[in-house]
């Protein structure tokens, strides 16, 4: 909290002087928002780093989080506009440049992830709006010669007691001369006009007319496009390459070796891609040439037979098994997964002798800038990043090594002119940084009345923090918290409990993937609690309830989902209903899935999602994230896996790494809990429950247990 407090004080000190450094010239196809904002900036009122008010009444909120679909370009402006009493119809957004004043108040770097944007900005942006409002009021008070306390604001206008009025645009220039207030009072939440309302997204219009600019759409003057022949095996290095045929192919400017492979730099993507495909590269295959995921999982199974690093231990789990009336063991297996954002990775770079400008959809501005600066040999402040819209992120565009940015810098060094590196779908899917494969062995026992006595979880998998700048996060605990989140804090009241972790060392690059460790821990724990319920011959919903009495927020979403889904009511023949509940990213979610199985195919009919994310900002966006989260989780459950043979990834594109299509998408209902608790996340918490709710519904429909993802009915037990 101290970091947060400090930031609050810091940002209020920023004055007009800061605005000059905020805007840098650049060129994009069409009329960009940034270019527009720049036109108007000359006589604008910019009381702090987060808002600018023009004489034309436009209120531009500078958003320090990246828009990847989760709605920050709407939800964050809402926070500021609420306290500003802005006219919402005049509010727009602009991506923040990289600057320490835009650092995440908790993470201390400029980054988007961990479903933190809204809750970490909740006070910060409201303070920024309230400070701006106070200065507008002060300007009006001076103009009218009255006391500021006698004035009120509404919808972008200051009113006095005689109902005289001055708009924010009319006051902007005077307000710029006012001293920022030392302290502001925030609204009583009961008086919120925007926060809590299903306000329409601000970025929809440009996403339905083709105008929205994603990284892949960026075009710089004299820009060339590059496609890289990338290593077919992780760790492989270029031995030699033959470009005799490709050098003279249409549009090709240059072919150069870079650390990631061989880059073909051409006038267009298509020319670069065709030449890249024709290039013959001989690879030194390195140590991973015989790597196979089936063998790796076999090793994981062996590792799970011995105790791992103790993460949590309560009671005496061993004694709890010895004296138990009934016991059960299950081993859950999870494959590597690709993020598979619809927009493949790309990055445009304009590298000059004393500056480097980067255009890309990134979640990790500070880290990318530092990594880029190191490679180009410039100080950090000489590197600037323009954040475009992200065509999906899901964690992939927050790479601790800035792989796709550094790669583009390396190509730019060779190109000599501005260059955009575009990854093909195949490059993107095969490029690594996956959700790690995991194995989770659980043993559980019940007493004679069917109450749980003992639970032992043993996880095996790679750490996403090991070997990165975030490794220090493991030091404190002695293990990677992201590997065991969601089981380390298992909420069920079980007297004897052990959670252990084996950190596997495999040279497949891994990274956070929407909802991170919860992607697998929620599945294993929520399926296993269902197995215990069946062993106890109890209804799986009713079995969970008494075990959650000390966790009222879990219980509340569990009850809400069950009630709204009509738990216990008859279903059509052959259908089953499954339930799951999970806490992640400061929010509580429960889902009930209704499925049927026909000819070995799982049909999803309905998902009912209950969400408690504390005090919420935009219920429309929350519902969208619950829908999207369920589809994301269901896609992994039903279809997705990455497998390696002879070191080579077997999946290349959407035909071999499918996702849910519209005809496979169930009806999804979202119910949001009214709450005054502090705000929680929404981007990720909708993912974890989908897969276990589906698997538990399959059990209800067929009597078969799913212990391996993706679901294959013929492999079920």
């Amino acid at each position: 909290m101290s970091a947060l407090e400090m930031k609050r004080r810091d940002f209020l000190r920023f004055s007009l002087a800061a605005s000059g450094g905020l805007l840098i010239g650049f060129y994009l196809p069409g009329k960009s928002k940034l270019a527009l904002a720049q036109d108007q900036s000359s006589n604008a009122f910019m009381p702090n780093a987060f808002v600018r008010i023009g004489t034309d009444e436009r209120v531009t909120v500078i958003v320090n989080h990246s828009e990847m679909g989760q709605g920050v370009y709407t939800a964050l402006p809402m926070l500021l506009a609420e306290e500003l009493d802005a006219d919402w119809k005049k509010v727009g957004f602009e991506p923040a440049p990289v600057d320490a004043k835009y650092n995440h108040p908790v993470f201390g770097i400029q980054a988007t992830g961990g479903s933190t944007s809204v809750w970490s900005s909740f006070e910060q942006l409201r303070q920024a709006g309230a400070a701006a409002r106070a200065m507008l009021i002060a300007a009006a008070a001076q103009r009218w010669g009255v006391k500021p306390a006698t004035l009120r604001t509404a919808s972008g206008t200051v009113f006095d007691q005689q109902n005289r009025r001055l708009t924010y645009g009319q006051l902007a220039e005077d307000a710029a001369k006012m001293t920022p207030p030392a302290k502001v009072t925030l609204k009583d939440p009961k008086t919120f006009k925007l926060i809590g309302k299903p306000v329409k997204r601000l970025d929809t219009a440009e996403k339905v007319n083709g105008k929205a600019v994603f990284g892949i759409d960026v075009k710089l003057p004299q820009m060339l496009t590059a496609v890289v022949a990338r290593a077919p095996i992780f760790g492989a290095k270029v031995k030699s390459f033959d470009d005799s045929r490709t050098r003279t192919m249409p549009g090709v400017h240059k072919i150069v070796e870079v650390p990631s492979g061989v880059a073909v730099i051409a006038d267009t993507f298509w020319h670069a891609k065709v030449a890249r495909d024709a290039l013959r590269v001989d690879w030194d295959e390195g140590t991973m040439h015989a790597f196979r995921t089936d063998q790796m999982m076999k090793q994981y199974r062996e590792m799970a037979k011995s105790p791992g690093k103790s993460v949590r231990r309560e009671g005496d789990p061993d004694a709890g098994f010895a004296g138990a009336a009934r016991k059960i063991e299950a081993v859950y297996e999870f494959p590597y997964l690709a993020h598979a954002m619809m927009e493949p990775l790309n990055c445009a770079v304009d590298l000059r002798a004393d500056s480097c400008e980067i255009w890309t959809g990134t979640q990790f501005q500070t880290v990318d800038r530092a990594n880029a600066a190191k490679v180009v040999g410039l100080p950090d402040e000489k590197v600037q990043i323009q954040t475009t819209f992200l065509g999906g992120g899901f964690g992939r565009r927050a790479n601790p090594h800035s792989d796709f940015v550094v790669d583009a810098i390396q190509v730019a060094k060779a190109a000599g002119v501005p260059v955009k590196v575009v990854w093909t779908r195949e490059d993107d899917m095969q490029g690594g940084w996956y959700r790690p494969a995991f194995l989770h062995a659980i043993a559980g026992s019940l007493d004679a009345s069917g109450n749980p006595v003992s639970w032992r979880s043993r996880l095996v998998g790679q750490s996403i923090f090991a070997g990165t700048l975030f490794e220090s996060m493991m030091k404190e605990k002695g293990y990677d918290p992201a590997s065991v989140e969601g089981v380390e804090d298992l909420p069920y009241a079980i007297p004897n409990l052990a959670v252990e972790y084996h950190q596997a060392e495999v040279n497949v690059p891994v990274q956070w993937w929407r909802s991170v460790g919860h992607t697998h821990t929620a599945f294993a724990t929520e399926c296993f609690i269902d197995e215990l319920a069946a062993l106890a011959r109890k209804d799986p919903y009713q079995f969970r309830r008494p075990l959650l009495l000390k966790h009222p927020r879990h219980l509340r979403v569990l009850d809400l989902a069950a009630q709204k889904a009509g738990w216990g009511k008859p279903l059509p023949k052959g259908w089953g209903r499954g339930i799951a509940v999970h806490f992640s990213f400061e929010s509580y979610n429960a889902q009930v899935a209704e499925v049927s199985v026909r000819d070995g195919r799982v049909m999803l009919h309905r998902i009912v999602s209950a969400m408690d994310c504390g005090r919420y900002v935009n219920p429309g966006i929350i519902a969208a994230q619950m829908e999207g989260g369920a589809v994301f989780g269901a896609s992994a459950a039903l279809f997705q896996e990455l497998t390696f043979e002879n070191g080579r990834l077997q999946q290349t594109n959407f035909h071999s790494f499918p996702m849910l299509r519209i005809n496979e998408c169930p009806k999804i209902e979202t119910h949001i809990v009214q709450s005054n608790e502090k705000p929680g996340g929404i981007g990720e918490p909708g993912v974890p429950c989908a897969a276990p709710a589906i698997a538990n519904a399959i059990f209800a429909a067929t009597g078969k247990r799913i212990r391996k993802l993706p679901i294959r009915i013929k492999e079920a037990v």
Binding site: V208, N209, T268, F269, W270, A340, M342, A624, F654, K667
Partner: protein, 156 residues
Amino acid sequence: MISLIVNKKKYEIDVSPDTPLLWVIRENLGLTGTKYGCGMAQCGACTVHINGGAVRSCVAPVSRADGQEVTTIEGLSSDLSHPLQKAWIAEDVPQCGYCQSGQIMAAAVLLRENPRPTDEDIDRAMAGNLCRCGTYPRIRKAIHRAARMIAKGGAK
């Protein structure tokens, strides 16, 4: 030379006839609303119309469009007045937005051929368009909404 009529504007383009229409639209014409997702007609992000029919432009050689009428998302309307654009805004469909041009172009063909589609009709017509953000429930709602608008005389 390839002759294209894109969004009612004529172009003469010096490009190899086997170049995918997608890259001609994006790179030669600078119309970047049409997206690259997979390059093998798996995802539908590149959907455009040739003479009113939905085409996956990532696998369609530009020669196929020679002399034909091509419509991209930029040509659907100049002012967000198309019923599908209005419905997409009303239902807050897009999340990241990357696939939405393709979704809307596919939906436009569906509504022309079937002005009152059922959920099943929508599922069948739209199954070729992937959305990683999972906006499918809202796409269904928005297509129904657009269909209602068209029935009430909102069609162009």
